[in-house]
């Protein structure tokens, strides 16, 4: 096949699978002008849904960034029993359906669950509240930072760290001055992927949130709810904002990529 043919196939596929549906969403949203979309977006429940999504993301991303870097360091730089298990477990959220994750949280934190009863006796509501939604989101977005950082750490080796030790730098100082700057682009890349995953999370959160409007409804859940209430304009408008966020993330990636190659 010649190059033109390849290009047509690649672009045609993208148009059919990605651009087409996205275009239709755009078109449907603004079919009757800006007003209906604006009205849908300014409903208090919708605003709350976006705030909740951003809050969950704002908690899950830093947690997973720290965890991901620590895990990557442990996997690449340390030898300990159970390392293989840790390495395999980090990928689990990629393989596991988010719905299964949600159900497992149900089993742990439900009234009959392992921790649920005890926590409830002490006045902590996990299920159908922010804690469960945060835990579910952390779980599904867990692998991205570690998976980005591990190959970079392997590639740079530990020569620079050892050089820092011989120059008198302690472990903590070496991490901040040498290791972290060397892996910074991998971390940024992982953070962006994690953020995208958190913003778009649906399945696990759907199971554990209870979907209480204005309380435990995130933006993605709100899209589903609006759709089921035959408020298509509302559903489309929220989808558009989510799509724009995703596009923003993609643009962020493209901006970073060339710099990463130069570093």
């Amino acid at each position: 096949m010649n190059r033109l043919g390849l290009r047509v196939v690649a672009l045609g596929y993208l148009a059919l699978v990605l651009a087409g549906p996205l275009g239709i969403v755009f078109w449907r949203t603004f079919e009757h002008g800006l007003a209906p979309a604006w009205n849908a977006l300014t409903q208090p429940e919708t605003i709350h849904a976006f705030e909740l999504t951003l809050l969950i993301t704002a908690i899950a991303v830093p947690v997973n960034t720290v965890f991901g870097v620590v895990c990557a360091l442990a996997i690449v730089r340390r030898d300990f029993p159970g390392k293989g298990v840790l390495n395999a477990f980090i990928d689990l959220p990629l393989a596991l359906s988010p719905v299964v994750v949600g159900l497992s949280l149900f089993l742990l934190y439900g009234r009959q669950g392992w921790f649920g009863g005890w926590l409830e006796d002490h006045g902590v509501q996990v299920l159908f509240a922010l804690p469960a939604m945060v835990i579910a989101t952390i779980f599904v977005s867990l692998p991205f930072v570690a998976r980005e950082v591990v190959p970079t750490l392997r590639e740079i080796g530990n020569d620079q760290e050892q050089a820092a030790y011989t120059l008198g730098a302690g472990g903590w100082s070496t991490f901040w001055r040498v290791t972290l700057p060397s892996i910074r682009w991998a971390v940024v890349y992982g953070v962006i992927l994690t953020t995208a995953r958190c913003l778009g999370e649906y399945g696990a959160v759907a199971v554990v949130s209870g979907r209480l409007q204005g309380q435990t409804e995130t933006a993605t859940l709100r899209v589903q709810e609006r759709y089921e209430s035959y408020d298509l304009a509302g559903a489309y408008a929220i989808s558009i904002v989510l799509a724009l966020l995703a596009i923003g993330v993609l643009v962020g990636l493209t901006v970073i990529r060339p710099r990463e190659e130069n570093a």
């Binding site: 620079q160 050892q162 050089a163 011989t166 008198g168």
Partner: protein, 321 residues
């Protein structure tokens, strides 16, 4: 500062990297650890720096037991084989690193860095990143970085390994000069005997994790303690069952009970010397080296049969397996 290595052994899994090695490095000396790859020389250097822990044995720095000390506490400067530059820092920041982590005053750091950059002839390169330097410049930056915190010992792992021949020769000269100026106890690892001979004032020869011999370059060459050292430190050939250096062969006109019959295959003029290749009557390949004067005086020609008498020959007891 003196270094004492006492009975150090190290294994990596089944591989024995070092076996009961003991070595004294006098204060202010320039010592080479010489050996083929896999002989344990780099491991020994890393153990002295605290980057590896010995399975048993002791490291003493300036008389004090340093075996349990972390690399940060040993005050050694280490130059890595591939220099390990901090890639995200400029040359100046690289050199300043060891001073910054020791919280030296800023003015002092600036002054010391400039002083070191001029010592390693990298003035004007301070703002560059390691990726913008040549191999030789990167090497010198690594040296300046290692010297900045004024270490008591400077350790270099294959310091000239990754450079081309001309830069190598230049840096050798330069390292000798540096040692004269800074006068810090220096140990470097090399697999190149000429490099060791030219630069070091003491050479420790390692083979398969064991220390074969320690001595001045001339001592190793003239009085090798083992067949391995004899062969590794200079050229050596077996002539009539003994090992002999190429220039320790005397050409005789006639048969003699202590000489070996051989036929001249080829002769090559190497400046003042002539290299003569011969086939021994027993099938051995022999190389002899003699001055041009002597060569012409003897009137040697290709195909001629001669008798060779080893002078200063050596016989080593076979190594117990």
């Amino acid at each position: 500062m003196s270094i004492v290595v006492q009975g150090v052994s190290k294994r990596f899994g089944d591989f024995v990297a070092l076996e009961a090695v003991s070595l004294d490095v006098p204060s202010g000396s320039l010592t080479a650890l010489l050996g083929p790859s896999g002989s344990g020389k780099s491991t020994l250097l890393r153990i002295v720096a605290g980057l590896e822990t010995p399975d048993c044995g002791e490291i003493r720095l300036e008389g004090g037991d340093a075996t349990a000390l972390a690399p940060q506490q040993r005050h050694v400067g280490f130059v890595f084989q591939h220099y390990a530059p901090f890639k995200h820092m400029t040359v100046r920041e690289n050199v300043a690193f060891g001073l910054k982590v020791r919280k030296k005053p800023k003015a002092e750091i600036r002054e010391r860095v400039e002083q070191l950059l001029s010592l390693v002839q990298l003035q004007g390169f301070g703002h560059r990143y390691p990726a913008q330097l040549s191999g030789g410049q990167r090497q010198r930056m690594a040296l300046a970085r290692a010297l900045a915190p004024e270490p008591k010992v400077l350790l270099l792992d294959e310091p000239f390994g990754a450079l081309d021949a001309r830069v190598r020769a230049e840096l050798r000269e330069w390292l000798i000069h540096l040692h004269d100026v800074v006068h810090v106890t220096t140990v470097f690892v090399t697999h190149d005997r000429e490099e060791a001979m030219e630069v070091a004032d003491q050479i420790a020869v390692l083979n398969e994790g064991r220390l074969e011999q320690v001595g001045a370059p001339r001592e190793l060459y003239d009085e090798p303690a083992s067949e391995f050292v004899m062969r590794f430190v200079g050229d050596a050939h077996e002539v009539g069952g003994v090992l002999v250096r190429p220039h320790d062969l005397e050409f005789l006109d006639g048969a003699s009970s202590d000489a070996v019959e051989a036929m001249i295959v080829k002769s090559t003029v190497l400046g003042r010397d002539v290299k003569v290749e011969l086939h021994g009557a027993d099938g051995a390949e022999i190389v002899a080296l003699l001055t041009r004067e002597r060569f012409e005086q003897l009137g040697l020609w290709r195909g001629q049969t001669v008798w060779l008498r080893p002078e200063r020959e050596r016989v080593f007891a076979p190594v117990a397996a």
